[in-house]
């Protein structure tokens, strides 16, 4: 399954300062669907190069990180249970406090 992942608000620093990643990831053995929970595991294993605690907490993202699936907050699509589809766009962005 082809997905576009984007990291912003400083999270890109955890993956070699690359903001946009075009990836190919398939459901695990025996699974028919790829959920956000699966994707987070994949991202942590394959993209996060340093300080994983700045990206995840438990099996979800850390506080202060917004997750957007096709420009919509994942709270509106089922959070970790959100089922991904071909060519979906997933954004991970850290909230900023500067001014």
């Amino acid at each position: 399954m082809q997905l576009t992942l984007e990291f912003g608000g400083g999270l890109e620093l955890l993956c070699d300062s690359v903001k946009i990643h075009n990836i190919n990831v398939d459901p695990q053995d025996g699974e028919k669907q790829l959920t956000m929970k699966n994707l987070l595991t994949w991202v942590r294993t394959n993209l996060i190069k340093e300080r994983p605690e700045m990206f995840m907490k438990g099996d979800s993202v850390r506080p202060g990180v917004l997750v957007l699936v096709n420009d919509t907050d994942w709270e509106l699509s089922g959070q970790l249970e959100t089922v991904l589809e071909e060519k979906d766009n997933v954004v991970f962005i850290s909230t900023l406090h500067g001014g």
Binding site: K19, M54, G64, L66, E75, T95, H97, G98, G99
Partner: protein
């Protein structure tokens, strides 16, 4: 004709003629603006353009809260301040600039740090609040104060080459705590003072904060509530995304709020976020 012009004086009709000519804004939008009051918390990178446009457009009363003084390294982005004000109060400097472009707008100077001890009293005097601060504890404190008092909150942030903007606590929409119930780890929060910021990035976000404040105060247009604008200045990308609605479990605006007018003054935002409210010294470790 004072009837048709909604009480606008001939001078005001001339000054605001470009607004009055707009069919979708017009005399009614301008009259609403002139009757409104906006509080801008922070006279820095975001507050500079926000204050200038709010003063220019004819908001009736503008409050400015800040306890800092102007420093040379602010001037790269804080365009409301001039070199002549280095070492002087940011509020005095910003107030003088606002008055010089529009002497008919009332400017109120709050030369003090925004704290739980004065927040309710200050915010209660205004219709709309603009969060132009630069740290996590202030953002939670301002949000909770706005929720407790029922004030719409225009929230902007900028760091590095990125900016974010949304309107909280507006017309049944979410508040800051609905989105971020738990504070981030302290080492994930950076200020412009620590990490740098391209000066014009808070410029863009601050202008957009003024735009949203004007829409809320004039009752014209659709404010950016339930939506968030994300700016990536380097690649020249802007996206506006749909965010969650109000959370029934929210500790500020939910069904059983922990934060109320009574509990708010005793809530310790520095402990909650494990971050101090005031800025530390600049570390130029990269140079």
């Amino acid at each position: 004709d004072l009837g048709n012009s909604n009480g606008l004086s001939p001078d005001m009709i001339y000054r605001y003629s470009r607004h009055l000519l707009l069919p979708s804004f017009g005399v009614q939008g301008q009259a609403n603006l002139l009757k409104s009051s906006v509080l801008v918390i922070g006279a820095g990178g975001l507050g500079s353009p926000a204050l200038l446009y709010l003063a220019a457009c004819g908001v009736g009363r503008i409050g400015i809260v800040d306890h800092d003084v102007v420093e040379l390294n602010n001037l790269q982005r804080q365009i409301i301040h001039t070199e002549a004000y280095i070492g002087k109060s940011k509020v005095e400097s910003a107030a003088a600039a606002c008055r010089s472009i529009n002497s008919s707008t009332q400017i109120v100077e709050h030369k003090e740090a925004f704290r739980t001890s004065n927040a309710l009293e200050i915010v209660s005097k205004y219709d709309v609040v603009v969060d132009a601060t630069d740290n996590a504890p202030s953002r939670y404190m301002i949000n909770d104060c706005c929720v407790v008092l029922g004030k719409p909150l225009i929230s902007g942030a900028a760091l590095g080459l990125e900016g974010q903007l949304t309107v909280y606590n507006y017309n049944g929409g979410p508040c800051y705590r609905c989105l971020f119930p738990t504070p981030p780890p302290t080492n994930a929060c950076q200020r412009c003072a620590d990490s740098g910021v391209l000066g014009v990035v808070p410029g863009v976000i601050g202008c957009l904060q003024a735009l949203e404040a004007i829409k809320v105060a004039s009752l014209v247009g659709e404010p950016l509530s339930g939506r968030m604008l994300l700016l990536d200045a380097l690649s020249g990308r802007i996206r506006i995304v749909k965010i969650r609605g109000r959370s029934l479990q929210c500790e500020a605006c939910g069904e059983h709020p922990v934060l109320t007018r009574q509990t708010f003054p005793d809530f310790d935002y520095e402990i909650f976020t494990q971050t101090p409210l005031s800025t530390g010294p600049l570390k130029l470790t990269l140079l």
